[in-house]
């Protein structure tokens, strides 16, 4: 085995096809898209170079600023929500429900399996005000409050989106973190208990540090997924009202395929890539430091 893997030709042959396929379907389009950032036009009119125009437009475009701000705000809030809710659920499974956690785990995981469009429609109906008030508004009315048009303003639509996405994905993070928590040796917990740690103190000083690696993985997972949010926004609000809930991904899609400005769309894609890269690097650095400390 060592002889085969030590042979450069063998490595080339083994890795070559995979690398080729990867290059063809990932790297080439990425470089291609980068090239488009310096052009304007579309597939009907053809493409012409326009230097750095797209980049200067990107800096001045208020819609990009709004979309970038929305993306960051959404990513931070949903990541925090998903991981915290997931962690709390995982703690519930491990320390409270113990062996009986299977049915609850299944129930909490159920929304992960549902198609995003179905969840989007479900939440539209839940929070709708017209033609008939949805359950949430009916509840408000029952307590004597006025109906709220949740999708009528960007602020309330944002929170509906947040609630929906946390509900949709907390089951997934719960399972992920559950796997990390069950890995904590029983002896460690036992001795901590004998030393008098219990409840919040046990979690704060023993469980949290020991589950830090899996918590960090969840954070990286979550922040990268939420920065690239697309489907749930399209399904719930389609970026509206106005562009109030439009993330960078949706604006990129609209620019390229609705307004047929492929060059500008590619420039927005580049911005998104840079943002993802920076955030991932930052999270990696933080997680490395934490690991060495613990």
């Amino acid at each position: 085995m060592h002889r085969v893997l030590g042979d450069r030709r063998a490595i080339t042959i083994l890795l070559g096809p995979a690398l080729l396929v990867y290059s063809l379907i990932m790297l080439v389009p990425m470089v291609w898209s980068l090239g488009y950032s310096f052009t304007e036009g579309n597939s009907i009119e053809g493409f012409t170079g326009n230097g750095l125009d797209n980049f200067s437009r990107l800096l001045d475009d208020p819609a990009v600023h709004d979309a970038l701000w929305f993306t960051l705000k959404y990513a931070v809030v949903v990541t925090a929500g998903q991981v915290v809710a997931g962690y709390l659920l995982a703690l519930l499974y491990v320390f409270f429900l113990k062996k009986a956690s299977a049915p609850v785990r299944t129930l909490a995981f159920f929304p992960v399996v549902l198609p995003t469009v179905a969840v989007g429609l479900l939440f539209q109906k839940l929070f709708q005000v017209a033609p008939q008030p949805g359950p949430v508004n009916s509840l408000l009315n029952a307590f004597g409050f006025e109906s709220v048009d949740f999708f009528g303003s960007a602020g309330s639509a944002f929170w509906v989106l947040i609630i929906m996405d946390i509900w949709r994905s907390m089951g997934f993070y719960a399972v992920l973190l559950f796997a990390g928590l069950v890995d904590i040796p029983d002896e460690v917990l036992e001795s901590a208990r004998l030393d008098g740690a219990s409840g919040p103190r046990l979690i704060r000083h023993i469980v949290l540090p020991l589950s830090m690696p899996v918590l960090m993985s969840s954070l990286i997972f979550s922040i990268n997924g939420t920065l690239k949010v697309f489907d749930s926004v399209v399904a719930l609000t389609n970026g509206g009202p106005g562009n109030g809930t439009t993330p960078l991904t949706l604006y990129m899609f609209q620019s390229s395929f609705t307004y047929s400005e492929y060059g500008y769309g590619s420039t927005i894609a580049l911005l998104l890539t840079v943002v993802c890269l920076l955030v991932s690097l930052a999270v990696y650095r933080v997680s490395r430091r934490d690991n060495t400390e613990s």
């Binding site: 042959i13 070559g16 096809p17 396929v21 063809l24 579309n42 597939s43 009907i44 009119e45 053809g46 208020p62 539209q124 709708q128 005000v129 017209a130 033609p131 109906s147 048009d149 999708f151 009528g152 303003s153 960007a154 389609n238 970026g239 509206g240 009202p241 106005g242 562009n243 109030g244 609209q254 395929f257 609705t258 307004y259 047929s260 400005e261």
Partner: protein
């Protein structure tokens, strides 16, 4: 390892590599051809939402245009309207546009296609196949107004727009048909006071609301109000333009569109009017098909009236200038155009008008060569209005770019629910217009 064995193995590997490359290349190649000369069938690419055009074409292929269909069989393909623009761009990029296709959601795309020579010169071809006189002059002038003076599309639909109103509710509350904007406001006040929602409109679509802005602009500033915006001699942020947005926003502020107008979709708005829950409904004449359908129309076709957008006091526009459109434009590809598609074009022009009206109650911009009895009184009113109208105007987004159209439609609900001020609304749309 002996030298010969090594060479043989290398050869095997190289040939295996080459084969896998070839496999990859064929897999990537796909089956779609790029060339589209001499079409084997008369393909019509339409949108899923519009059933009238494709069923009427199918009727023609079995009846009046059977000979043309035998020579070049009709084939229908559909795509959801929201994906039409993308599909067209893709097909145009590959030079694979079908013989006949719905030409994009905004005239801007059709103009772009025509500029790069992908659209047949329909006026020339109609002349050649002796069918130019089969198009209603009003429809021709609307198409030319939309497409920079060129006949780039066929009027499979011809719509005028105005307010449909519930005659019964008007009579019960002693409301006369409003002729001016102020009278319209008074009528709305009256209905609102009686607990009837004055207007139904779809804020989810957005355009039913922006149509009110353009209606007001055409009446207050005259029929060239939006041409001036398109050619840059006026801006939407000019005070006289913002005034129109203010008037529409005021209707929203008074709650005349009901609750949660931003979540009301097209069908719900239609349903509110046809079940008597709202008094007025601004819509195009395509709604006649819904009005004629007793399943949908619970107030009865005889209780629905049609009135033009009211006049604005001291305005430069006139009440008989109707906003008009040809629905989703349908055009012919240039690469696939030959004698057989030309014969189809001629046959469609001569027969489509009667077929669409008779079988679907749909008014098209083709002449109706076989007399057809109207389904109801309001259809007669609309048809008379169309044939007698002297000057037509367009709609708010007609001369906008695709981007400005989208921005206008998605921001309109905010204007009437108060989350966007009239000034902000006009600024946002003007900025999108200025962009490209």
């Amino acid at each position: 390892m002996p030298h010969r064995m090594l060479r043989a193995r290398r050869l095997t590997l190289v040939s295996a590599g080459a084969m896998s490359m070839a496999l990859l290349a064929t897999a990537c190649g796909g089956g779609g051809g790029g060339t589209s000369a001499a079409p084997k069938d008369f393909t019509y690419l339409g949108v899923t939402e519009n059933t009238t055009t494709r069923t009427a074409l199918a009727t023609l292929s079995e009846g009046s245009c059977k000979a043309e269909n035998d020579a070049l069989p009709l084939k229908t393909e559909t795509v959801p309207q929201a994906q039409l623009d993308q599909k067209l761009q893709l097909l145009a990029g590959q030079d694979a546009l079908p013989a006949q296709f719905a030409a994009g959601n905004a005239p801007a795309l059709t103009k772009q296609l025509a500029k790069s020579g992908k659209v047949a010169d329909i006026e020339l071809e109609l002349k050649r196949y002796g069918a130019l006189d089969q198009l209603e002059p009003a429809a021709v002038s609307t198409i030319k107004a939309l497409y920079g003076g060129k006949l780039m599309a066929l009027p499979y639909e011809y719509n005028i727009e105005g307010f449909f109103y519930n005659k019964k509710l008007f009579e019960e509350n002693g409301i006369a048909v409003p002729g001016t904007w102020d009278e319209l406001l008074a009528a709305a006040d009256e209905l609102d006071a009686k607990g009837v929602q004055p207007f139904s409109a779809s804020g989810a679509q957005g355009w039913p609301l922006t149509r009110l802005i353009s209606g007001y602009l055409y009446r207050s500033l005259g029929p060239d109000a939006l041409e001036k915006v398109a050619d840059g001699s006026a801006e939407l942020t000019d005070p006289e333009y913002v005034k129109a947005a203010e008037e529409v926003a005021a209707l929203g502020k008074k709650g005349y569109f009901g609750k949660g107008v931003g979540s009301i979709d097209y069908d719900t708005a239609m349903n509110q009017f046809l079940t008597g829950r709202s008094g007025m409904f601004y819509m195009g004449s395509w709604a006649l098909a819904n009005i004629a359908d007793p399943e949908q129309n619970k107030v009865g076709a005889e209780n629905v009236g049609f009135m033009p957008f009211p006049a604005v006091k001291g305005g430069a526009g006139s009440i008989d200038q109707y906003p008009s459109n040809i629905g989703l434009a349908v055009t012919f590809g240039s690469k696939t155009f030959n004698d057989k598609t030309g014969d189809w074009l001629g046959c469609i022009s001569k027969n489509y008008g009667s077929t669409a009206l008779k079988d679907h109650g749909a008014i098209s911009g083709f002449k109706v060569n076989t007399p057809v009895e109207d389904a109801n009184e309001v259809t007669t009113t609309v048809r008379k209005t169309i044939s007698s109208s002297q000057q037509n105007v367009l709609w708010f987004e007609a001369l906008f770019s695709t981007k400005a159209t989208t921005v206008s439609n998605t921001t309109a609900a905010g204007l009437v629910n108060g989350s966007v001020s009239p000034q902000q609304f006009m600024e946002t749309v003007q900025a999108a217009l200025g962009g490209r």
